[in-house]
């Protein structure tokens, strides 16, 4: 296997970049933007990492446009950073080596919906909410829901998941095929519309979660689901976070097909209370949703009620009316905004881990103690059915001591997860922020395999360099 070449220097080539931009301008005219504001906006994500702007942004409208940009960049060995909605957390769209940001949000067409096959073909700039609005009249929906109104291209690229993964899986499970522009400018289709295949290497899954480091996704075939006949939601309060975790664990182990099961700690509940004006007890809560036929939903609710009761859960508030459900889940979706409002002026430093559910209560409890010991303000919430939780230290970036304490806390959190057979990133990807944990998670030989794949597909190292694997 080819040896890894760790990037020890900034490999910018200002002359090559200038020539590439001039060529792009001649091809794409005013679709090429080099103003600082636009460049900085395209390096911006919801992250505390320093903004590292690209040298230019190109707004593309088609696979052919992407091929054009990639070919120019390949010729001059200039980095390419695919850009979607900019809602990632780990510095995925930063341009540490400069280069060209390809803004894909203009590629926002739903190309085809095949209701009879429960799938659709879309461009990468289509957002989650846009797709679901488009589909609603046909009784269909796309279930993966990371909270923010992310672009589906970005969701594929980061292997996103969210509240409904426990029932419907992550992006890994919901992508049937991808069209990808390779670093050479060639276009491939990774699979067919058939629901399953055992024909060769699983290129679809290779690109899902590759964070733009292997190619630019320009078309996505997604699985769809029928809108369930009945949906019921509810909230249940618990005296301790361990009780709430254990109720979630028992629910999953009992095989109740919950559509969502979300934990909010009392700090997060307080934040939601202030922000969303939703009257909730200031205790650890589980938000639940059940999908199915009316009798099945009722039965699931009843069974969960029994489990909650065994774990000292409070009484259950059920919302079957769409408007009440929407208000409830809006509060859950607004956690990020609510967190920001909790400590004005502070930067929310979002992080997540995921571990076997049997270790969840222990890991969450230890993490809560750690937050307290660190003197940080850090709400905690998560998709506990998957063993996945988030915490968001609110950090005054100018206070170096506080920044250091937050960094040390996240470091301990990741290592705690790894010790408990967990992963350093449940659903936020690696980006820049978690590269340093990848070797601890997989071991050095597995990282060599990832590097070998990266080198095989992107021998020039132009695709989103400085993310996931070290740059050659």
């Amino acid at each position: 296997m080819e040896a890894r070449n760790l990037a020890s220097e900034d490999k910018r080539n200002p002359v090559a970049v200038k020539i590439a931009i001039a060529t792009l301008l001649s091809k794409f005219g005013n679709k090429v933007v080099t103003s600082e504001a636009v460049r900085r906006q395209h390096a911006h994500t919801e992250t505390w990492y320093a903004n590292e702007p690209p040298d230019a942004v190109v707004y593309v409208a088609s696979t052919e446009d992407v091929q054009g940009v990639v070919s120019v960049c390949a010729e001059h060995r200039v980095p390419i950073i695919p850009f979607g909605s900019g809602t990632s957390f780990e510095g995925h769209v930063n341009a540490p080596f400069g280069g060209i940001s390809i803004d894909l949000m203009g590629m926002d067409r739903v190309i085809a919906v095949h209701p009879e096959d429960l799938d659709c073909v879309i461009q990468p700039g289509v957002t989650r909410k846009q797709l679901n609005e488009y589909l609603r009249d046909q009784g269909l929906f796309f279930p993966v829901d990371p909270g923010s109104n992310a672009s589906l291209g970005g969701m594929v690229a980061t292997r996103a998941s969210g509240t409904t993964a426990i029932r419907y899986g992550t992006m890994k499970d919901n992508v049937l095929a991808l069209k990808v522009v390779l670093p050479s400018g060639e276009v491939i289709t990774t699979s067919r519309r058939a629901r399953k295949s055992s024909a060769g290497y699983d290129l679809t899954r290779l690109f899902v979660g590759s964070e733009g480091t292997l190619g630019v996704i320009t078309e996505i075939t997604l699985k769809l689901h029928g809108i369930p006949e009945a949906v019921s939601s509810g909230v249940c309060a618990f005296p301790t976070i361990a009780d709430a975790c254990n109720a979630a664990i028992t629910t999953i182990q009992s095989g109740i097909p919950v559509a969502r099961i979300e934990l909010l700690d009392e700090v997060q509940v307080r934040a939601c209370y202030s922000y969303s004006k939703l009257k909730l007890p200031e205790m650890p809560l589980l938000f639940l949703e059940f999908n199915g036929s009316a009798p099945s939903v009722a039965e699931q609710s009843r069974r969960f009620g029994e489990i909650a009761n065994e774990h000292s859960g409070g009484s259950f508030e059920w919302a079957t009316k769409p408007e009440d459900r929407t208000r409830l889940w809006q509060a859950r979706h607004d956690v990020f905004h609510a967190i920001k409002a909790l400590r004005p002026g502070a930067e929310p430093v979002v992080t997540d881990v995921c571990l076997p559910i049997s270790r969840l209560a222990e890991c969450v409890s230890e993490t809560k103690r750690d937050i307290e010991d660190s003197g940080l303000t850090a709400p905690l919430f998560g998709h506990v059915g998957d063993g996945n939780f988030h915490t968001v230290p609110l950090v005054m970036i100018k206070d170096k001591g506080e920044v250091a304490r937050a960094e040390a806390f996240i470091d301990r959190l990741v290592k705690r997860s790894l010790t408990m057979e967990g992963t350093c990133s449940g659903e936020h990807g690696i980006g820049q922020g978690k590269m340093k944990y990848l070797e601890a998670e997989y071991g050095s030989a597995a990282i060599d395999v990832m590097c070998a794949i990266k080198i095989a597909l992107d021998p020039q190292g132009i695709m989103n360099p400085g993310k996931i694997v070290p740059r050659r």
Copy 2:
């Protein structure tokens, strides 16, 4: 990307093989077998392709053993062919370039079961039935069911699926992590026990379906499921195969969470009738199974009954008693034996395709006409909920004209599937038999990507050469 090197010659090196075998004998003693009978048995699969035996077979007992064999083979550049239960259909374990077959069936330990996390860790020689017997007392089961009692290592390697994929997914969806010995002899673990992760490239899915061409799988972490509270099975007859397909399509589109929905054409029913002595109407049939709570199963059955009725389905025979269910599904599982008995002396040539379900009825009907026009005896059955079906021409191998007719028929079947946005292999893998269709399915640039990955991970080309991608 590195250029493909098509194998134009047999690259055997008899001297290297001799030295490798001598070294293996000194390390592994009588675990190394070179008798012709054993070698031929290890090239044997349930296929009509000519037997191409390896030069020796090594019976391994541990990951360290596998590392030992791989290291010797790597040193002398001798091919390695991982061997499980030998139940694959596409010549996966043939040794066209000679080499060492690694028999993994001695690695048959269940290493750990984590009921609280609904997962287990096993060695690759554990078979599907063995695992489920082991799990039964704990109320758990592993759902993927390709029919034969395959080794789970082989099921991972071929991305197997089968009757229950419509509900529980394929091997792709049910593997959490793998331990793999790389062609260098190094060992990697592809993931953690966490239910989901967005940490780097999805190495797990890269090895699932890689057919031993990238490494040897020596440990598997699988998702498990709780044994459903209630199971009900049934059979429904239809006047035409198109009616049966359309009933299956409507069932899937209605979102009924069937656990199995299997089509048998009237030729297959006749074969099952003779073999299993099960009284079934000699018409196209759908075999169904519903899993869930008792009320949910009853409701699913009722809803299916209505759909069957709309599609001219006959009355429903329901089996809720375990012994009746077992007899019914045994008949379904015995299709392969039943087929063999249908034309004694003939070789069953098993093939499969999978396509979007909206095209299923059309493809099945055209294929039935093609079978008739070709004068072949070829039962047809399949996992129609996934759009996946099999047909099995019974061929007198000594009759060259018949062999040619069967080959031409399979060629037309695959091309028909590809024309209808399907795949050349729904669940049997590529092996030797379907390599020629891979480029038509994915296009040449995607095959270049597969070759680049193969070369990156196995630069010497020693892992199961002559399967999936061309040998360098």
